[in-house]
Symmetry: C2
Subunit: 266 residues, 2 copies
């Protein structure tokens, strides 16, 4: 049955969307005021966000391999919506760089090359260190329960050896670091970078260490909680280096072109 990591049948797991980012606390100037981040309905009436979230999650869990074709018809029946919704969702996903739209040829899951991979890590190296530094500095004022709970989830997933869950949570820890700042923009940036990282790890990662090394997340969080900016920053930098050095930039995994659709058709 080919236990490959790719799934052609768009195995989008159900529900569990609605992962709002909490308001309050604006990092530098922590003015206690309602931020318009976690509002009830950012794009009211647009239920294509549902589709976007599902595909996003599938990519994060490396269940949707790069270069997999996402045909409109398939998505329509998968999600039970009209073609318009699907097309809008695809447009949004392409604007996030998660997929690539080719004229008259359809949508394909993004397939970062070596150069793009370098850009992603360079961007993360630029943003994340100052981020955790500031987080550690102001950790007295902000709410870290999200992160604490997250570590628990990671441990649980590791315990139960749930591969996809481990992969996704491992990436989402970094997203939640950004989320903890309460800054909508920082959150969005990190989310995009983390998603790309997931694609990259899937492509260039040596089969085993698809997730972040075991307890480094926990150590980083601990440094933040201890209000130790230097340590937090240092740990994070070496953490990112670990991830990057675990990649083999030369021999990329087979891009699996449209093979996925062949396997997944029926």
């Amino acid at each position: 049955m080919l236990g490959l990591r790719l799934i052609g049948d768009y195995a989008f797991t159900a529900s569990e969307s609605a992962k709002e980012i909490n308001p309050e606390s604006s990092l530098v100037s922590s003015i206690p005021q309602q931020s318009s981040v976690g509002k009830t309905d950012p794009n009211p009436g647009s239920n294509e966000n549902f589709i976007v979230e599902r595909i996003y999650k599938a990519v994060m869990e490396q269940r949707l391999a790069p270069n997999t074709k996402l045909s409109e018809a398939r998505l329509c029946e998968t999600f039970g919506v009209g073609r318009m919704r699907v097309r809008r969702a695809l447009l949004l996903l392409s604007s996030q760089g998660l997929i690539e739209l080719q004229s008259n040829r359809g949508a394909y899951v993004a397939c970062p090359d070596k150069s793009e991979a370098n850009d992603v890590f360079a961007a993360r190296m630029l943003i994340e260190p100052p981020l955790v530094r500031q987080l550690a500095q102001s950790s007295g004022d902000i709410d870290l329960t999200v992160l604490i709970d997250h570590i628990a989830l990671e441990d649980a997933a590791r315990e139960k050896d749930e591969r996809t869950e481990i992969i996704r949570l491992s990436g989402e820890f970094h997203t939640k670091l950004a989320q903890a700042t309460g800054n909508k923009f920082i959150f969005r940036m990190m989310r995009e970078l983390v998603t790309r990282t997931s694609l990259i790890v899937g492509l260039f990662g040596s089969s085993q260490n698809a997730s972040c090394p075991d307890d480094e997340h926990s150590k980083i969080l601990h440094a933040i909680q201890s209000q130790n900016p230097e340590l937090a920053e240092k740990l994070l930098i070496s953490h990112l280096n670990h991830i990057q050095s675990g990649l083999d930039m030369e021999s990329r995994q087979q891009p699996q072109d449209d093979l996925a659709t062949i396997l997944g058709s029926d």
Copy 2:
């Protein structure tokens, strides 16, 4: 004739799109390889990018005031395209946060509130200092002509006292700082933040200093060229502080609701 800064008749200036970001040089790991940033046609066949660029530019020049309604019909005739193109463009713009889509009510130019303004500056304070620092460190390897030319453009615009040009160039300097890294992701992030800043300055800025203080850009660039990371970072931080302190967060400019459409109709 009401010389207000808002224009209701969608005065999108013609042409001058196609502002590609140059490839090469990936900031941290400067591997001399083709980056897929400045390719010929990122979204092939999609000419809604044209509309997006025009509206983006209008916002950058503060010719499109926050809360201005962008009705589909008006945009259709303005750009001479079908409704589909307009709707796609609006969706993209909303995903960038430039406009806000309200269900069954239409698209409105985004109108950041105080909290969001704080988030924007917090995010910039997080990203830009490390950015110019790295730029200064690796200024030997990268091409700074874009920035040098830009300063010249700014001076020329100031000379001729072209208000909209000054405003746009003033913001775009920061975008081009990011562009100089050659990193697609950093560029995108900064572009979004700078655009938002333009909206914020338009809303909260005291009428006069809508642009960045005179020659600070030049000084920053000079510090980068001199490979002086500390100075560059310091100058940029105080530059951002100047911009932010020039705002009056309490009394925002009249949001000008749909008043714009009234004045601008015909």
